[in-house]
């Protein structure tokens, strides 16, 4: 092994000389402790190395071992249900071997070496295969059938292949070309900084339903799409990411805890094996890969963690799965870049971030997409990416937020104002947006209800009107509004409280199918429409808002999916309630018993007075 010599140590940055012949992004081992590092700068025979482990006690004169390999991940059976650190070391096995605290220089392979998997070939001797072709399958978990694919750069005729129990390092297949015979195992490696190839990019046209009402109904993300959720601390970024990891309609979840809390990873580790996937009824852990590089773990490995995660995700995408990646939080990743850049004494850009911040952010999100995979049989996979952003002070002019907004198509704006009111998810319905609404409209309208997008638009309009009216209320009080306007406020309030508000910790409310969402919102709107009509016919405003049926509307969210008729039956109940109200309400009005309530039919003079102001 070739060696260099350390000349400088400054936190996670080490400089070494005698490094001629190494390449950018090669992995090295630093000192006799064999700390993992990666070359991030070269000039003559000097290399700048970012070290993925704590460098205390390391100094000039110590040795750097070159491996002449880039930072790569191991791909193969055994990924699912694993928890890795930022450079794919299995944290559970590390704990078994070295105890409760992470020590340095641990070398443990990512995929378990002594576990046998049942390999079932799907090609036979004599078949011609090329890169990306499926040669066999492994049932990895009840939810995941792991395709074994021909690694990139290999092509030829299958000269041997057998079914049976194998280790990931055993040869399962031999491929003969004119030049040589290649032995394939179930495992392949891939450099993390290089996107895995695909045959063709496809337009996003299917919704990635998430079970979260504000997301699916108003700001949906497409399969293969990108989304971000910036917000100040405590507004629910992690909760929304966890919710998506739990309930999103994806076949594989890769959750990257990037520079955040240790307890949040523990939460996932404890909860996911217990929770059941609403579609398959199997534990959610059976489709999940976790990457945990918490805030107290070495900062450089945080930089690598997002690449490790997305490469694993691409690998499953290539099998034809719909994969979703959550990264919490991309700001910590950017901060890691900033720290290394500062130590390299690079010229800083905005807020001290390196000038290439925005290029890095966009190339990360560009790895998302719905694609046709390389190889046969033909497979269509999707990789969706959802990143949390933690801007200082919640200030959206932060360079990381801005760089992210330039590439992602969905923006969920988390606001502390809503969080203080305990309106969760605290996603602002006024500032958020999704650019996929039109792309996915055709399919949702066909699959769920033909007016799915229509009611969504109508509800959104009501919410916007509410915001305008509230401006007026703030200045001159609610009494100045006409009953029609006050009804808009009531309708919008019902959408906010009865529909948008969703408690992640309530066993039923935590997830709502698209059908349930559609039914709930239709009910809210039905009440509003009927109320409009009743008001026009002279029913008093106070009688309308005081209707008992509203309590049932408020409780829709707690009805289990299996009791859907309890929600749909409200359609009739609302109709009946209004019929009764209209017959009695109008009589009362005529009897003039409603004197203490100023509402009712607007007098002409009042209308004029308002339009004059």
């Amino acid at each position: 092994m070739r060696k260099g010599e350390i000349t400088k140590v400054s936190g996670p940055l080490v400089v070494a000389r005698g490094m001629r012949g190494s390449k950018m992004y090669d992995v090295v081992r630093v000192s006799e402790e064999r700390l993992v590092g990666e070359i991030i700068g070269l000039s003559s025979d000097m290399a700048s190395i970012q070290v993925y482990e704590d460098t205390s006690g390391i100094g000039p004169g110590e040795i750097v071992y070159m491996t002449d390999q880039p930072l790569f991940v191991e791909l193969g059976p055994g990924l699912i249900e694993s928890i890795y650190d930022g450079i794919q070391r299995p944290l559970d096995i590390i704990r078994d071997q070295t105890g409760d605290n992470i020590s340095r220089g641990v070398e443990i392979p990512a995929l378990e070496r002594d576990k046998k998997w049942h390999f079932k070939p799907v090609v036979k001797k004599g078949d011609a295969v090329k890169s990306g072709d499926l040669i066999g399958e492994v049932k990895e978990t009840v939810l995941v059938t792991h395709s074994i694919m021909v690694p990139h750069g290999v092509e030829g005729t299958v000269s041997a292949i057998k079914e049976g129990e194998f280790l990931v390092t055993d040869t399962v297949c031999e491929i003969k070309s004119d030049k040589k015979v290649t032995s394939l195992t179930m495992m392949q490696i891939w450099p993390v900084r290089q996107p895995r190839p695909y045959r063709e990019r496809l337009a996003p046209s299917f919704m990635l339903s998430t079970g979260q009402r504000v997301v699916d109904m108003f700001f949906p993300i497409a399969k293969g799409g990108t989304a971000c959720c910036p917000g100040p601390f405590g507004t629910g970024k992690t909760v929304i990411q966890h919710q998506l990891a739990k309930w999103a309609e994806a076949e594989i979840i890769v959750y990257i805890g990037c520079g955040e809390r240790g307890n949040e990873m523990t939460d996932v580790l404890m909860e996911f094996p217990e929770l059941k996937d609403p579609r398959s009824g199997e534990p959610l852990m059976k489709r999940t890969v976790l990457i945990a590089n918490t805030s107290n773990m070495p900062v450089a490995a945080r930089e690598a963690s997002v690449y490790t995660g997305i490469t694993i995700a691409e690998y499953f995408r290539d099998m034809g799965y719909s994969v979703a990646v959550m990264a919490d939080s991309t700001s910590r990743w950017a901060e890691a870049m900033r720290e290394i850049s500062g130590r390299l004494e690079e010229m800083p850009g905005e807020e001290g971030y390196p000038a290439y911040l925005s290029a890095k952010v966009s190339s990360f999100y560009e790895r998302a997409g719905r694609v046709k995979a390389v190889g046969t049989p033909e497979r269509e996979g999707a990789l969706s990416v959802i990143g949390a952003v933690s801007p200082p002070g919640g200030d959206l002019s932060d360079p990381v937020v801005q760089a992210t907004l330039r590439v992602v198509k969905v923006f969920w704006s988390l606001e502390d104002r809503l969080a203080y009111q305990r309106h969760f998810p605290a996603i602002s319905w006024l500032n958020s947006y999704s650019l996929y609404i039109d792309d996915i409209a055709e399919h949702v309208n066909k699959d769920i209800a033909k007016d799915f997008t229509d009611i969504s638009k109508e509800a959104m309009k009501l919410l916007e009107q509410e915001a305008e009216l509230q401006e007026i209320v703030r200045l001159i009080g609610v009494d100045a509004l006409s009953p029609e306007d006050r009804l808009i406020l009531e309708g919008a309030r019902s959408i906010r409280e009865d529909f948008l508000h969703q408690n992640a910790f309530h066993e039923i409310d935590t997830y709502a199918s698209l059908t349930k969402q559609y039914n709930m919102l239709s009910i809210c709107l039905r009440y509003y429409h009927q109320a409009q009509e009743a008001l026009a016919r002279g029913v008093a405003f106070s009688d309308i808002v005081g209707m008992e049926v509203r309590e049932k509307i408020a409780r829709m969210k707690y009805q289990p999916e299996s009791d859907m008729e309890k929600i749909t039956s409200l359609n009739d109940e609302i109709d009946t309630a209004f019929k009764t109200l209209m017959s009695s309400g109008i009589q009362q009005e005529q009897a003039g018993e409603d004197a203490d309530v100023r509402e009712g039919i607007d007098t002409e003079s009042e209308k004029q007075a308002r339009s004059a102001t």
Binding site: S56, R261, T294, R332, E335, G342, P392, R422, G477
Partner: protein, 457 residues
């Protein structure tokens, strides 16, 4: 092998550059002997070939380029720990300050510790009763949580912290908390307040104090929380004690960090604080928690004063991004003589959901909490409206809410400094106040609990 040099090239601020050094290591501990015979300590911040950049804990006064000798100790900063440390007072680097004997160490530990493996963590879910309603009822603290107090200058954060230390217990258990207290840059008077309070309540022999006061060397502060956590980790995970770590004031800590960063001419981040402030704070705060199969735990209450009461200032902001919620003290409540002036709307305990409910506090806790918060928010809105439009413009219902909010502040949030309410008292008080509001407004409480608790009486 210990090496000594007198080849100081440069002194600037708290930093010292030594040249001609062979074999210096990153983070290595250094001793500096001045001409006057004074001994100072430092650590290596960077080594570049034969040059070592050293941070001096006690500051650089008395150091001259010609005559000082610098000795490299060949190890990182360690501290000797022992359970005899309970009841003792140390300086910010862990040297006895109470005139008592040196501690005979049972173990010598690196003050930087090692990160807890996330798979080793156990989720915090045991309710801690602090006896303060605004915390127990609304922002419930659990064992192993990190819950900071965001305060402002002149607000009674020390009293709140002392009350928490005094009253905290896990109901149904006899084990007691031991406290590790790290003071950074607080005044003698403030430190004395805590010592007096611990003495009065008889808690002093369960406390380890690390004092770096306002007139102590500022740079030393950077190590104080690490020293405190090293002892806390030992007591919690080796000795099985439940430890409450109180750190005050993190603002002073961050300022010391800024001073070093400025001396190194690093590119400053927001308000001049270094770009790695988040990572640095996390390396301190994340040392708290629980570990599977270990008996003890570390619960952390860092106190910080927000400059200009600004929550978006980097120190509270980055703290909030690391801790599991925050207790915010409000100046406007304090002016209204509400004490402790906990701003229950902006405060949040993120782990409360796992620490409340049947078998922990009481079945109705979550619903009650949601309803109280909703009613209080509505009351505050009504209060705002009445400022603009006058109380007469409020609807009858809003008038009720307004009244509710006032009563809630006066009777629920406000309580005596020595008033220790049980969780039942806190919950019942919540119901008592809710009864001011019509039953039809109780939208966040399920019927069964309304019947059982609201209709009672």
């Amino acid at each position: 092998m210990i090496k000594e040099y007198s080849s100081i090239l440069d002194v600037s601020g708290p930093l010292l550059l030594v040249e001609g050094v062979a074999g210096a290591k990153y983070e290595e501990l250094v001793e500096i002997y001045t001409d006057a015979g004074e001994k100072k300590r430092g650590r290596v911040l960077e080594v570049d070939q034969d040059k070592a950049l050293v941070q001096i804990f006690e500051g650089s006064s008395g150091i001259d380029v010609q005559n000082c000798r610098v000795r490299f100790l060949g190890r990182t900063l360690h501290i000797g720990v022992s359970d005899d440390m309970l009841g003792r007072v140390f300086d910010g680097l862990g040297r006895p300050k109470d005139g008592g004997p040196d501690v005979i160490p049972e173990a010598l530990l690196d003050i930087n510790g090692a990160p807890i493996n996330p798979t080793a963590r156990d989720y915090p879910n045991e309710f801690i009763q602090t006896g303060i309603s605004s915390i127990d009822g609304i922002n419930t603290l659990v064992r192993g949580q990190k819950l900071p107090v965001f305060s402002g200058s002149g607000l009674p954060h020390n009293r709140v912290a002392a009350q928490i230390v005094r009253q905290s217990r896990v109901i149904g258990r006899e084990e007691q908390f031991a406290v590790v207290f790290g003071a950074m840059g607080i005044t003698f008077e403030e430190a004395n307040f805590f010592i007096q309070d611990f003495t009065r309540s008889g808690a002093l022999e369960r406390v380890v104090l690390f004092l770096n006061l306002a007139d102590d060397p500022a740079i030393e502060r950077v190590s104080t929380p690490r020293v405190a956590f090293t002892v806390a980790e030992y007591l919690a995970f080796e000795k099985g004690l439940h430890i409450l770590v109180v750190l005050s004031d993190m603002t002073n800590y961050a300022e010391a960090l800024r001073e070093i960063s400025a001396a190194r001419k690093e590119i400053p981040g927001r308000r001049g604080y270094p770009g790695y402030l988040y990572t640095d704070l996390a390396s301190v705060y994340e040392r708290s928690g629980r570990i599977k199969e270990k008996k003890g735990s570390i619960t952390l209450i860092p106190i910080l004063t927000m400059p200009e009461d600004d929550k978006t200032h980097p120190i509270p902001d980055l703290t909030g991004y690391i801790t599991e919620g925050q207790i915010i003290l409000s100046r406007s409540l304090y002016r209204k003589k509400v004490s402790p002036p906990v701003d229950v709307q902006q405060s949040l305990s993120r782990l409360k959901d796992k620490g409340i409910g049947k078998g922990k506090t009481r079945e109705d806790h979550a619903d009650l909490f949601n309803q109280l918060i909703a009613c209080y928010a509505r009351g505050k809105e009504a209060a705002e409206l009445s400022v603009i439009l006058g109380e007469a413009a409020l609807s009858d219902l809003d008038k009720i809410y307004l009244k509710f909010a006032q009563q809630y502040e006066e009777h629920y949030i406000s309580q005596g400094e020595n008033e220790n309410r049980t969780i039942e008292e806190t919950l019942d008080l919540g119901w008592k106040l809710l009864r001011m509001v019509p039953r039809s407004e109780m939208k966040r409480v399920r019927d069964a609990y309304l019947e059982k608790y609201y209709d009672k009486e």
